[in-house]
Amino acid sequence: MMKICGPKLSLCCTILSVWAIIQLGLMAIFFYVRSPAFIEDLKIDDHDHHDAEKFLKALDTSYSTIAVNCAISAGLYVVTLAVSGWQMWVNKNS
């Protein structure tokens, strides 16, 4: 039963993880369905700005990439949730 962090830090991390999982999960879905609300968050290189076909394709790729990124981050936060939850349990027992 190793204690990595104290009770306050583990509580903070747990709450943050729950929030992150919900928000990043939703954002992953929204990026996947190509929501125009996130259009300013896309990464489109400068050389793709000149040709309409390339631009639209870059738009699409960026949406997909960011959707996957959000999903992966959400997964990382699931791991964080597990670790900080375990730390909270360790702190409660000690």
Binding site: A20, P36, K43, T65, I66, Y77
Partner: protein, 841 residues
């Protein structure tokens, strides 16, 4: 019949208590907490009051209990809190309590002093042990050395360390070295050595060794590092000098025998004594713990009992003693609706005391101003505190706290307007409210926590309203939701050519292909989020609704003053303050709001509106309003189909309103003081006639004006100036307060922009990644974005919006009707004693 709309009706009562029953009756009244006693002996010194001895005894008992509490805290003995509420004990039980506390205190003091002595002894023994160890080392080394030397010099083995190393010179006898061993603080060693060097002129030899483990100082309890030293010198004079220096530098000296065998024996003895001492010490600490644990079970009950007794005697000190009737007289304020409860409590108290004399409760007529008592529950008490912080309501005037329960969260939400942040606040507030009982029982300290926890219902409502306004502003962490389908479409403009040529595309709302004509059903259209002119559009909307909300809030305030005027039968104010104020507000700023609504309804973009009512022709409401006051009539511009006014006869209507409002100003200023003056004069004349009539009847008996009211001063200039101040405050204030409500717009704009900037500067970095490794970046940046959201947008902006809402209520709303000149009802109550609050009665 009380409610939160007005403060309760209070009666001044006279209470006659028999001396035997007094204590118990006051105890029962304290338990119910509904009676405020007036101090009938205000000019009596605290030391000359009747029950000063009892209060002093209670103070002594409390002091002893606090001493016990500190001892328990030092040893981390848990104090039991089973939530029970013991009744105040009878006066004769006080002696038993005092004896118990005295015994406990003496026992604790004895145990503590014994422990201190034991610790001192153990410290000396430990230092001695170290000294012996270290000197053993010194002498061993030296013997090794001297054995080497001896081999060299071929002298006899087993020479003592103190023998002169140099060969004895002729004429001088063998000189023995003396030594002194001792212990001192490590920090003092350098100073000590330097002193020795200087005073003994370098003729002493010092060796030192640090003690590795820290030793506990018996008085302070902290652990200090010490050093063992041993000083070698020759001759008696040096010995005295060395000893004096040791004493001066507060180094403790220990007798150390020269011979090795003796030292070993001493070490054994020391070890044995040290073991014994540690056993005794542990037994002492055990005993101390047992005593404290036994006392800890009752500590809270004792505290409550002693504090209750003290409160009761403080109250008894305020009563008058009627020696002839052998009873105590009290004057107290009680809520009229609680007379029955109080009579029951008095009966209970009399029964408990075994007295046969019933207490008498008489209602008194009085001109004194009663205290203001609002009956609140856990929900309304938060809002009531907000209002009372500005000023306690005058007796029986309308309580703004009732309306504040809704207007406060609403105005907050208009400024905070973000559904995402609202959800975060809601989570926090809901946790506090749901876990209420556990959190109250936990008795957490920390003023900031108590502030948040005390306002949990306020925060709960604020967050719910914020989610609502967030949906209307369509703002969730600066992003919009498209639930119903946007009314704006790009349609035929969505071509590759447009995409390649234009950076921005302008969508014309008059074009039904680009704007469907059916607006988004609830809230802002999500298209505005990505529009470049979003702020310009939102500004127009938010400024207008801020003014509309402000004018409604202020008119509501004036309407509340109507209720106050009718209740206090202040008909002069009703006619000459309320009516002109309403006409002025509605005529000026109500008209401004009506113009806004007319413009919204009549003008628009699109084929349905025609040329005259197109968005191009919509007149500026502000300019129209200014022209109205300045009586400017602008000429029609023939080049455009637009009209200056929105409808026929608007100019005449505005003129009439302006004239009405101007008339209202002298109406507010002059009539009331003049009428008051004439009323006062007629009253004076009436009293004079009465006095003459009475004098005539009773044959010249001098009747001094026993009617107190006649002495009431009436300074006309004062009344007039006060009325002038009120008028100016209202008239000028109406303009400045209306503009003040624009902070609703300003703060919501600031909040929205801060939220957007935070997303664009922080979150966007994490999102705009071109590869999958960007997910690590996003993982870290999300945490940073979340921390900044909570700290800046929820906490800082939340506090800011809270403050501004509070200001709007206190200044703009309450200045229309609130007097706030009352004093709060402070009954004798034991609630804070039982809950364990720190404030003393």
């Amino acid at each position: 019949m009380g409610s939160i709309f007005r403060s309760e009706e209070m009666t001044l009562c006279q209470l006659f208590l028999s001396s035997e029953a007094a204590y118990n009756c006051v105890s029962e009244l304290g338990e119910i907490g509904l009676v405020q006693f007036r101090d009938l002996n205000p000019d009596v010194n605290a030391f000359q009051r009747k029950f000063v001895h009892e209060v002093r005894r209670c103070d002594e008992m409390e002091r002893k209990l606090r001493y016990l509490e500190t001892e328990m805290k030092k040893d981390n003995v848990p104090i039991l809190d089973n939530g029970e509420n013991p009744e105040a004990p009878q006066p004769r039980e006080m002696i038993d309590l005092e004896a118990t506390f005295e015994k406990l205190e003496n026992e604790m003091k004895e145990v503590n002093s014994n422990a201190e002595t034991l610790k001192k002894n153990s410290l000396e023994l430990m230092e001695l042990k170290h000294v012996l160890l270290t000197t053993q080392l010194f002498f061993d080394e030296h013997e090794v050395q001297s054995t080497m030397n001896i081999e060299q010099r071929d002298s006899e083995p087993g020479t003592s360390i103190t023998q002169n190393l140099l060969p004895a010179e002729e004429g001088k006898g063998p000189v023995q070295l003396g030594f002194v061993a001792g212990v001192t603080l490590r920090e003092r060693m350098p100073m000590f050595e330097r002193m020795l060097w200087r005073v003994c002129r370098g003729n002493v030899f010092v060796r030192r060794a640090d003690i590795q483990q820290p030793l506990e100082d018996p008085i302070t309890g902290e652990e200090v590092f010490k050093t063992v030293f041993i000083i070698f010198f020759q001759g008696e004079q040096l010995k005295t000098k060395v000893k004096k220096i040791c004493e001066g530098c507060r180094a403790t000296m220990y007798p150390c025998p020269e011979a090795g065998a003796e030292r070993k024996e001493m070490a054994q003895g020391v070890k044995g004594r040290l073991d014994d001492l540690s056993t005794v010490l542990s037994q002492t600490t055990d005993h101390r713990r047992r005593v404290l644990a036994a006392a800890a079970k009752h500590l809270r009950t004792w505290f409550i009992k002693v504090r209750k007794i003290k409160a009761i005697y403080h109250t008894l000190n305020m009563l008058n003693l009627d020696v002839t009737n052998k009873c105590l007289i009290a004057e107290c304020w009680i809520p009229t609706s609680d007379l029955g409860v109080i009579r029951d409590a008095l009966r209970k108290g009399t029964e408990r005391s075994g007295s046969s004399v019933e207490p008498i409760l008489n209602r008194m007529q009085t001109q004194l101003k009663p205290p203001t008592f609002h009956r609140t529950n856990k929900f309304t008490s938060g809002f009531q505190n907000l209002i009372d912080a500005y000023g306690v309501a005058t007796y029986r005037e309308v309580n703004p706290a009732l309306y504040t329960t809704t207007t406060f969260p609403f105005l907050f939400a208009v400024m905070f307007g973000d559904a995402g942040h609202g959800v975060l606040m809601l989570a926090f507030a809901a946790w506090m409210v749901i876990r209420e009982k556990a959190l109250i029982a936990a008795k957490m300290s920390g003023e900031i926590w108590n502030i948040f926890f005390g306002g949990r219902y306020i925060i709960l409502l604020m967050s719910c309203f914020s989610i609502y306004t967030g949906i209307i502003y369509n703002d969730v962490f600066s992003k919009s939701f498209n639930i119903f389908g946007s009314a704006w479409h790009i349609n035929s403009n969505a071509t590759v050519e447009n995409l390649e040529h234009w950076e921005e595309l302008t969508l014309d709302p008059a074009n039904r292909e680009e704007y469907s004509g059916k607006p988004y059903p609830f809230g802002f259209d999500p298209m505005w989020q990505i529009a470049v002119n979003k702020i310009a559009f939102q500004n127009s909307y938010k400024m207008k609704i801020s003014i509309i909300i402000g004018v409604i809030h202020m008119i509501f305030g004036v309407v509340v003053s109507l209720y106050n005027h009718t209740f206090f039968r202040n008909y002069i104010s009703l006619v000459f303050e309320f009516i002109p104020q309403m006409i002025f507000l509605i005529g000026m700023f109500g008209w401004l709001c009506i113009m806004v609504f007319i413009k919204w309804i009549m003008y628009g973009a699109g084929p349905e509106f025609g040329e005259e009512r197109s968005s191009f022709c919509a007149p500026s409401v502000l300019i129209t309003f200014i022209n109205m006051v300045l009586l400017k009539k602008e000429k029609e511009d023939p080049t455009t189909p637009c009209k200056v006014f929105m409808f026929e006869g608007q100019y005449i209507l505005q003129l009439v309103l302006l004239v009405l409002c101007i008339i209202c100003v002298p109406l507010m200023l002059f009539p009331k003081p003049l009428i008051l003056k004439s009323l006062h004069n007629s009253k004076k004349r009436h009293h004079e006639q009465q006095a003459i009539a009475q004098n005539g009847e009773l044959g010249g008996e001098a009747t001094t004006s026993g009617h107190g009211e006649e002495e009431e001063e009436f300074e006309f200039s004062e009344v007039f100036i006060e009325q002038a101040i009120h008028t100016i405050e209202f008239v000028l204030g109406s303009v400045s307060h209306t503009a003040s409500y624009l902070r609703l717009w300003a703060l919501s704009l600031a909040h929205a922009q801060l939220s957007e900037v935070l997303w664009n500067m922080v979150m966007k970095i994490g999102l705009s990644q071109s590869s999958y490794t960007g997910s690590i970046m996003l993982y870290l940046i999300f945490a940073a974005w979340a921390a900044l959201t909570i700290s800046i947008l929820v906490l800082m902006e939340g506090l800011s919006a809270f403050l501004h809402t509070l200001r709007l209520h206190w200044v703009e709303f309450q200045s229309k009707f609130y007097k706030g000149e009352g004093y709060a009802f402070t009954p004798l109550t034991f609630k804070h004693i039982v809950s364990g609050d720190e404030d003393d009665a």
